[in-house]
Amino acid sequence: MFKILKYSFYDLARSRWSYIYFLFYLVLALVLLFLNHDLSKAVITLMNVIIVLVPLIGTIFGVMYYYNSREFTELLLAQPIKRNSIFLGQYLGISISLSLSLFLGIGIPFALYGLFNSAAIWDFSLLLITGVFLTFIFVALAFNISLRNENKIKGFGYAVLLWLFLAVIYDGIFLMSLILFEDYPLDKLSLAGTMLNPVDLSRTLILLKLDISALLGYTGAVFKQFFGTNLGLFISLAVLFLWTIVPTFSILRKARRKDF
């Protein structure tokens, strides 16, 4: 497995897409900090970008990589290597290289602008953690889609649709249902709705740091317990972890049974 991970990782490290991705974040963070020296404000802006862009790039990259390396995968399958290690290796390879691009791309400018002496370091590390989680989750989802679709166009279509759904449409439906059922107690529903979408979940995690004062404005015992204590942080992180684990197992299950 580690050989394949290493191979995938180096393969991607040599590809220019990783560099473009890395440079994009580098330039974005540098420009943000250049225009505005306030680190915590830059964290807020970056959060909006990361929550939308990281899933998009994760899905597209995942699908693209799978289809591109399909022939090589078939070659590997002919060798006496476990299927688990092939697919897990590829998955981890791509997720780690994307995470690294993100990590370095944002990390370097912030470090240059004195992150380590600033109070924003916790908000920033939370931002990076959620970014990394989102990368792992969406690459896994992309692998699931491409494993199930032989047709490239279809696979890409589903991947983009998945991103669009989780990043935008889901919140629309969520909002409409909350307004529709406003006569009923909704605090549990609204928290459950957040948990079911990794994008919302990451957003909530960052909100816990940035907008805690607004979140506490709502009267509700469940809300108060969730947002007012560290419980919300732990539950969100745990569910994000689940969101990473479950699609990964689904990849392995599908890969074991798939007839190539």
């Binding site: 404000k41 909350l178 307004i179 928290l191 709705g193 004062s213 607004a214 506490l216 404005g217 509700g220």
Partner: protein
């Protein structure tokens, strides 16, 4: 002859000493071993020196103009039996006592120091601990409450009292006090012409400062921090508030400042930081908000209705989750020349004023007003999209609620 004159002088001096400069000493081993005895033996205008020690007394009655000074903070222990000091005479000064263990009652407002129908009193350098009510001014005026420290340990609202309580008192100066851990830090009811300045009121169960039916008052340079529900100003007019700090008032029913049924108010150069709601306004008219700073609050200004002719000028709105929230479409308030950290316009003529107006009310704040649970969708991409479309063509938010001269840079 000369002997006689000399003798006369000595007599006069002696008499003078007797009349005006007589000092009564109270200490645990002195002939006068209790403060009450000291007061009983002293004459009007005397000074009572209370030496270091513990005096287990309550219901001490000060019924003549006296100056009671504690040396090295003598402890007056009420043993939870009731009220400790009651002042019913004009011109009394209390200085440097350490008063503890005021009795708790559900029928009587026992206070550590109560001033009743008196004038020209001064209460300073007093430390109060384990109290019910702290300093209670009842129909008293022209006094000074200066540099006291009130540390309570209140747990429930129903069986705790207020730190500094004014009732039908006027022309009193309350300054440089520290009040914490009581129900309401400073409480004013039917009290006019009061100056509240440089006090620190924090960690109180209910309000840091509570204002009811009190007019022409000024409060400046105070710090209100981490109180159960912040500061409430209700049913009052002609109040001036300036340079105060409202900080960390978090919770579901919590705000930095609550204005309810208020007229002719000036709120100038205050700082509101990390409050759930910085200012909650209801039925406030002709209020001027000038040069205040709102930083990292959940809601900077939440207008609940019936607010007319309010003026917001030169304020800074920095990183608040919601800048202004309205629950109606009618607007009679003017926003002009404020700095909004969310403003994304440009300034082509470089005069420091943005060329396109700023709309501080977001559609999402309406949605949250209607269905509070939707707050979990804060900062979602979908919400940004609907906010943007509302900004382009307002349907739900007040049309004319705009800042036509938003500043490009914070002050």
């Amino acid at each position: 002859m000369s002997f006689r004159i000399q003798y006369g002088w000595v007599c006069i001096a002696f008499l003078f000493f007797q009349m005006n400069l007589k000092a009564v000493e109270v200490c645990n081993s002195c002939p006068i071993s209790s403060i009450q005895k000291g007061i009983n033996t002293a004459l009007s205008g005397d000074t009572i020196w209370v030496k270091k020690g513990t005096y287990k007394e309550f219901n001490i009655l000060v019924d003549k103009p006296l100056t009671i000074i504690g040396l090295d903070y003598p402890v007056v222990d009420g043993e939870d039996k009731g009220e400790i000091l009651r002042i019913i005479s004009d011109g009394v000064t209390i200085d440097g006592l350490f008063v503890i263990n005021v009795g708790t009652s559900y029928t009587t407002d026992y206070a550590a120091i109560r001033v009743v129908r008196s004038k020209n009193f001064t209460i300073k350098n007093v430390v109060l601990e384990n109290l019910f009510f702290g300093i209670f001014l009842e129909k008293s005026s022209y006094g000074k409450v200066y540099h006291n420290k009130i540390i309570g340990d209140a747990v429930d609202e129903y069986n705790s009292g207020n730190g500094i309580h004014l009732w039908y008192s006027h022309s009193v100066e309350i300054s440089k006090n520290i009040v914490q851990g009581v129900r309401d830090g400073i409480y004013l009811e039917f009290s006019d012409s009061i100056l509240v300045s440089e006090n620190i009121s924090r960690q109180n169960l209910r309000y840091g400062l509570h204002f009811m039916f009190s007019n022409n008052d000024v409060y400046s340079n105070n710090e209100f921090e981490n109180n159960g529900a912040g500061v409430a100003v209700m049913f009052s007019k002609k109040i001036k508030m300036n340079n105060n700090l409202f900080k960390d008032n978090w919770g579901t029913a919590s705000f930095g400042l609550l204005l309810k049924e208020i007229n002719d108010l000036e709120i100038i150069e205050n700082v509101f930081e990390n409050n759930t709601i910085a200012i909650s306004v209801e039925g406030a008219n002709r209020v001027n908000y000038f040069n205040n700073t709102f930083k990292s609050n959940g809601w900077a200004v939440k207008v609940r209705g019936a607010c007319y002719s309010n003026l917001f000028q030169g304020n800074q709105f920095l990183n608040n989750s919601f800048d202004v929230s309205y629950n109606s479409r009618i607007n009679d308030n003017l926003f002009e020349g404020n700095y909004w950290s969310k403003y994304s316009g440009y300034d082509l003529d470089k005069n420091g004023i943005g060329d396109i107006p700023y709309r501080p009310v977001k559609l999402f704040s309406y949605i949250v007003n209607r269905t509070p649970e939707t707050i979990v969708l804060l900062r979602s991409l979908f919400i940004d999209i609907i906010d943007f479309s509302e900004k382009v063509s307002p349907v739900f938010t007040p049309d004319e609620l705009v800042d036509n001269k938003p500043l490009m840079k914070p002050k």
